[in-house]
Amino acid sequence: MVPLTWYVVLSAALFSIGLFGVLSRRNAIAILLGVELMLNAVNVNLAAFWRYGSDLTKMTGQVFAIIVFAVAAAEVAVGLALVISVYRRHNTVIADEIDLLKW
């Protein structure tokens, strides 16, 4: 059987890649892609801890994962709507150029 360590290390790798994407990409949509990778890493952790937990009749891990799915869907819908709105007004999706609130 696969040890739990492998799942959490995979999740850590996925999270770090997503973190790099969030910190380094210029395009606002690409930043949201990085956020999706991080949310998926969290979900892998939740499912793995559910499976390797002591009581399989408690579904807490899977319920948490489903709540994370719902929050991710809401986050992507609002985030992409904001990106499209900013693109309409300022004609750019580059995060560096959206600096209206920067002094």
Partner: protein, 169 residues
């Protein structure tokens, strides 16, 4: 090494490889398609974890809705589909450093800790994860309140998204 471990290693390599392509790909539409590959590999990981419902939800919601939404957003925010200029900002090496340090820190904690070095209990006979999950989601002494709050959150987010993206002209 058992068959399950080999399958896990192959799928994990596919997950990490396609995730790297998501953050490194030059064309945004390619990055979105690589994200679909990553999400599909994660669905396979859920199947390996006996979380079949999560795998189906992953394919239906993440690939069917979220990835398609990304592709539509890429389409709506580019006059031509080609991306010009560098895709990473000036401080990308700092981001890479922070990502590497995060991974190294997590790896050293997780890999050398004995708490995570365990194997799963075998599934009991006649175990039905989906009906247990359904019970947990609607049972008053389990998670019915977070479930309903999540539905309100989704409704509010979708109304807000329509309002923000609405073209008033």
């Amino acid at each position: 090494m058992s068959l399950q471990q080999i399958i896990f290693l192959v799928v994990a390599a596919a997950t990490v490889g396609s995730a790297i392509m998501v953050v490194a790909s030059r064309h945004l539409i390619h990055a979105a398609l690589w994200l679909v590959a990553t999400l599909f590999s994660v669905a396979v990981i859920y199947t390996l974890l006996n979380a079949g419902f999560l795998a189906v939800v992953q394919v239906v919601i993440y690939i069917g809705a979220i990835a398609i939404l990304f592709i539509f957003a890429v389409m709506l925010t580019r006059r031509d589909m080609r991306d010009t200029g560098p895709q990473h900002n000036r401080n990308w090496w700092l981001g890479a450093l922070i990502g590497l340090v995060t991974f190294a820190g997590l790896f050293s904690v997780l890999f050398f800790s004995s708490a995570f070095n365990k194997t799963p209990a075998p599934l009991p006979a006649g175990y039905d994860a989906v009906s247990l999950l359904g019970d947990a989601l609607v049972s008053p002494n389990a998670y019915v309140l977070p479930f309903e709050v999540a539905s309100v959150l989704l409704l509010a987010a979708l109304v807000g998204a329509v309002y923000v993206a609405f073209n008033r002209k």
